[in-house]
């Protein structure tokens, strides 16, 4: 027989003003099974909690209902108090009579009646609660970091320095990400590669970091503490054991005019290539799409063509026959750090909801470039050796117009958000340009200058006041070719005048977008993402580096536009979460998971089909003679996250979500 205690909280005036708490306590006292019902000013205070503890002991309560604020506020508090008094914490629940009642109503009588109803629901439910024990699962104390840009490198280094092994996976041939492409960094103007490459080398040489470049995550199984990840190591066509990175193969390669990804299309590379001189590892890869030999092979030619790299290599490291390899690794935690790409203004867009900028010529005007291309022009390691030359004719541009918010904050193009870093890097670009072309004009069209950050606003002021950048507040409506110039038609919203000018080059701060393919990777990992493809954090304020899949963390620009300090801070935060997780040999987690009734399950596996986590396994039921009787569903409680979709789907009602069983919910409804 249930013995329930009800504790009604006034929350000072917060509840007491609109709800007659004494009346609620009195009404609840008359519910069948309730043996103790009181109201008190602050239930969450020490004396309040003490009342609960004492009542549990003195009245032998089998369940506790606290009618107070939202369980999201204080459920843990009261469950702890119950546990301290020897009651299973899962036999304690809260009725929300503050957020869902006293705060949103004014009529005292009706609010009181509603509070009584809400409490009755929970009383009826708690009567049927079962004691639950948190689930223990072992932890594989190795981490996987996906993406080796600055965020991924930082996370990997922090975890490895914390004493745990890390597998660092990067889809490109080298680690380093976009930061390796940048010239100087704001707000200090220190050289990007100078501060990045030491970290790259450190990651490469770290005894606890296993680097897997030119590799991608193929699939993921398992759950927090116990993931099994399959990684596709793409065929490099070069044996990384034999290669010593001498570069002879690149010199020999006859296909020399491939637009270099690293130089954002402004430079050229060969078909066998190392993306940039400081690449880590310094081992080339053959671009099989562009290589003459592979092209011939695809066309079905028997004769082996070209092969000059093969002949040039003194160490016989070239291996045309190499194939992709699948490698499975066990890890306990994952950091998602796949970074960003820039939105392109072209007509063809990678995501359905986006559209390009026809008014800017869909990217077909040669001297209209994006921010990353300007970085390469300004970079000493870039295709022009750091000289600012415009792509069409190599002339030094005398007037450069910079456009902020191209794509960003433009719902017409499908992007509502602010890309956050553009205000800063455009200010930086104007400085770099003016430092190199002293007589040049740098004109910036902006909507707002958002320079929130340490030393950021000062930096923008410096661009304007010391380096003479001209800021025009307004949008540019159209760009088109006018002779060898680019005509810029805009509007100065401060003077209220339309504005037309001719530029030698236009630099667009195009929006920050998640990497293409992030959606499919997120689906493989069962983490959710927003409509733009950015990974969702578990809570926007309090869980910024957790995803809503336990054991998977997020860092850097794959979660939202992030600059370097933000990305590094997130990465270190994610690493500390991983290390915190790895400080346990076993994990405890919420036992509100699904459970199958083996006697009634017919093995239809509808539950398996709807389970978002792949938590449903097959269990063979055999008689004593070992003969198979039936195959039924079994929920892996380590994987199950407790959504309960299986229960609502099960045709024979054979699966129950502990803590939210049919008996509990129907009891609440029945008490209406």
């Amino acid at each position: 027989m249930a013995r329930i205690g009800v504790f009604v909280c006034h929350c000072g005036e917060n509840i007491g003003r609109t709800v007659d708490c004494a009346q609620v306590a009195e009404a609840c006292g008359s519910f069948p099974g309730v043996v103790h019902s009181v109201d008190y000013k602050y239930m969450c205070s020490d004396p309040g909690q003490l009342q609960i503890k004492e009542a549990i002991k003195e009245k032998g309560l089998t369940g506790v209902v606290v009618a107070a604020c939202s369980p999201h506020m204080h459920e843990k508090t009261f469950r702890k108090a119950a546990a301290a008094a020897g009651l299973n914490p899962f036999l304690c629940e809260m009725a929300n009579i503050r957020e869902h009642c006293s705060w949103i109503h004014e009529d005292r009588a009706r609010a009181t009646a509603k509070a009584i109803d809400l409490t009755r629901f929970i009383v009826e439910k708690v009567k049927r609660n079962q004691p639950l024990v948190p689930i223990s699962i072992p932890v594989e104390r190795r981490a996987l970091v996906i993406g080796a840009g600055i965020a991924g490198i930082q996370a990997a280094l922090d975890i490895a320095d914390g004493g745990r092994e890390v597998i660092l996976v990067e889809k490109e041939p080298s680690i380093g990400g976009h930061m390796s492409q940048l010239s100087e960094t704001f707000p200090t103007l220190d050289c990007s590669q100078c501060i990045l490459t030491p970290r790259m080398v450190e990651a490469f040489q770290h005894p606890r970091i296993k680097l897997m470049t030119y590799s991608e995550v193929e699939s993921l199984e398992g759950y927090i503490g116990n993931f099994a990840v399959t990684i596709r190591k793409k065929a490099r066509s070069v044996d990384d054991e034999l290669c010593n990175g001498c570069g002879d193969c690149q010199s020999a390669c006859p296909v020399k005019k491939i637009p270099s990804e690293f130089d954002a299309g402004l430079g050229k590379r060969t078909a066998i290539y190392v993306p940039f001189p400081q690449a880590v590892p310094n081992i080339p890869v053959i671009d099989r799409e562009r290589c003459t030999r592979f092209k011939a092979m695809r066309k079905g030619k028997k004769k082996e063509v070209c092969g000059r790299c093969l002949k040039a290599c003194g160490r016989e490291a070239i291996d045309f026959a190499q194939e992709d390899r699948l490698i499975t690794e066990k890890v306990g935690a994952i950091v998602f750090a796949t970074g960003y790409q820039l939105y392109s203004i072209g007509e063809e867009q990678p995501r359905e909801h986006l559209s390009g900028y026809g008014e800017y010529g869909y990217g077909e005007i040669p001297d209209v470039i994006d921010g990353m291309q300007f970085e390469r022009l300004a970079s000493a390691s870039g295709p022009t050796g750091g000289r600012i030359e415009r792509p069409s004719d190599g002339k030094e541009p005398e007037t450069v117009v910079f456009l902020q918010c191209v794509g960003s904050r433009d719902p017409q193009k499908g992007i509502d958000y602010c890309s956050k870093l553009c205000c800063m890097y455009i200010a930086k670009h104007t400085m770099l340009y003016r430092h190199k072309v002293h007589h040049g004009r740098a004109v910036v069209f902006y909507m707002d200058v958002r320079a929130g950050g340490k030393g950021y606003d000062e930096f923008v002021r410096r661009a304007v006041e010391e380096d003479g950048a001209e800021y025009v507040r307004g949008r540019v409506s159209r760009l088109y070719r006018a002779g060898d110039k680019v005509r810029v038609c805009g509007f100065d919203t401060l003077s209220g005048e339309p504005l037309e000018m001719d530029a030698d080059m236009v630099v667009m701060a195009t929006a920050i977008q998640p990497q293409p393919g992030i959606e499919s990777l997120a689906q493989k990992l069962s983490v959710s993402y927003d409509k733009s493809g950015f990974i969702n954090e578990a809570h926007p304020k309090l869980k910024p580096v957790e995803t809503n899949t336990a054991g998977i963390y997020v860092a850097g620009a794959c979660q939202a536009p992030r600059d370097i300090p933000d990305a590094v801070a997130m990465a270190s935060a994610a690493a500390s979460k991983v290390l915190g997780l790895f400080s346990n040999e076993e994990l405890e987690r919420d036992p509100c998971v699904a459970q199958v009734d083996e006697t009634t399950c017919s093995g239809c596996f509808h539950c398996e089909r709807v389970c978002p986590y792949g938590a449903v396994e097959h269990l063979e039921v055999r008689d004593r003679g070992g003969n198979l009787i039936k195959v039924i569903a079994k929920v892996n409680q380590g994987v199950c996250q407790g959504c309960g979709t299986c229960q609502a789907t099960c045709p024979s009602k054979s699966v129950e979500l502990l803590g939210f069983t049919d008996a509990q919910i129907f009891a609440a409804i029945n008490s209406l």
Binding site: E347, S355, E359, Q412, R478, Y480, A482
Partner: protein, 303 residues
């Protein structure tokens, strides 16, 4: 295909050749034009700036009559008429509270089904049929497609593709074998409504359009708006006086260009009504030496 037809005031006056060429071309593309009975002004000139209810009611009345005549689609060749009619449909859908006052004003149920069609959309949809029926292919002829302000904007009423980079007119031009040139001014304003009140501005705006088309190598401009045609064709002499160039850039209505490709005569298409002579252009099409003269003769007769 039977279509409702709303000529509007321009096609009865300054742009008669738009109407003539459309009516002449229609049967060749198996189009049957059924003019809306007792149609009224679309309200383009001043109603939409002075009285919102009137600006919706005027086109709504025409649309309601069109619906009563059984039209599924109503063709409005004039870009301004298209804009007003399409706006009225859009406004009535977006704001149902307009329905009652409009009903009171026009004395019948406001329209709910008829789709308003621009000439550009119609011909772009018919591009495959046009391609089949081409008699005089305009192979290699360079054409500048000029949209102006009303065909592509605002986005809610656009039926020619993207607002910033529409392609429907180019599709039609390609269908007749011609080559649309890549140029810059195809969406800029010609001066439109200021044609009479601020002539200098109109000449300045139209001049940059004509000059940009010429610089891009266009042999002719093609338009689908009577106001654009007026400003680019009639004003070309004034433009030429300022620029020192010759006023020799023919400006065709899209229907005339298609008509030429379908093998129709200059007379049928009303080419003689233009201010800038189309004779050289037409002569080059027929590809005959001395044809220029005969074409010129024919055009003069009409004029």
């Amino acid at each position: 295909m039977k279509l409702g037809y709303f000529p509007g005031c321009s096609l009865h006056a300054t742009a008669r050749e738009f109407d003539e060429s459309l009516r002449a071309m229609a049967p060749r593309l198996d189009l049957e034009l059924d003019e809306v009975e007792d149609w009224a002004c679309c309200g383009a000139t001043s109603a939409h700036n002075t009285n919102h209810l009137l600006s919706v009611s005027l086109p709504a009345r025409t649309l309601a009559i069109s619906e009563a005549q059984g039209h599924e689609s109503l063709l409005a060749p004039c870009a301004a008429c298209y804009s007003r009619l399409a706006y009225a449909r859009h406004a009535l859908e977006a704001d149902p509270s307009l329905c009652d006052p409009v009903k009171d004003a026009i004395g019948r149920e406001p329209p709910t089904t008829v789709q308003v069609l621009s000439i550009v959309r119609l011909l772009a949809d018919l591009a495959p049929r046009i391609r089949e029926k081409v008699a005089t292919a305009l192979d290699g002829v360079q054409i500048a497609c000029y949209y102006g302000c009303l065909l592509a904007r605002p986005a809610e009423l656009n039926d020619v593709g993207s607002v910033e980079a529409p392609t429907a007119m180019e599709d039609v031009v390609k269908a007749v074998g011609a080559t649309p040139v890549v140029w810059n001014q195809r969406l800029e304003c010609c001066g439109g409504g200021f044609s009479l009140s601020r002539k200098a501005s109109v000449v300045r705006l139209s001049r940059s359009i004509v000059e940009d088309a010429r610089a891009a190598g266009a042999a002719a401009l093609v338009v689908a708006c009577p106001m654009c045609h007026l400003n680019l064709d009639f004003r070309q002499k004034a433009i030429a006086r300022r620029s020192g160039e010759r006023a020799d850039m023919p400006v065709f209505f899209l229907t005339q260009l298609v008509g030429l490709a379908l093998g129709m005569s200059a007379t049928e298409l009303g080419l003689g009504r233009h201010y800038v002579s189309t004779a050289d252009f037409v002569a080059r099409l027929s590809g005959q030496e001395g044809a220029a003269e005969s074409a010129s003769e024919e055009i003069k007769e009409v004029g």
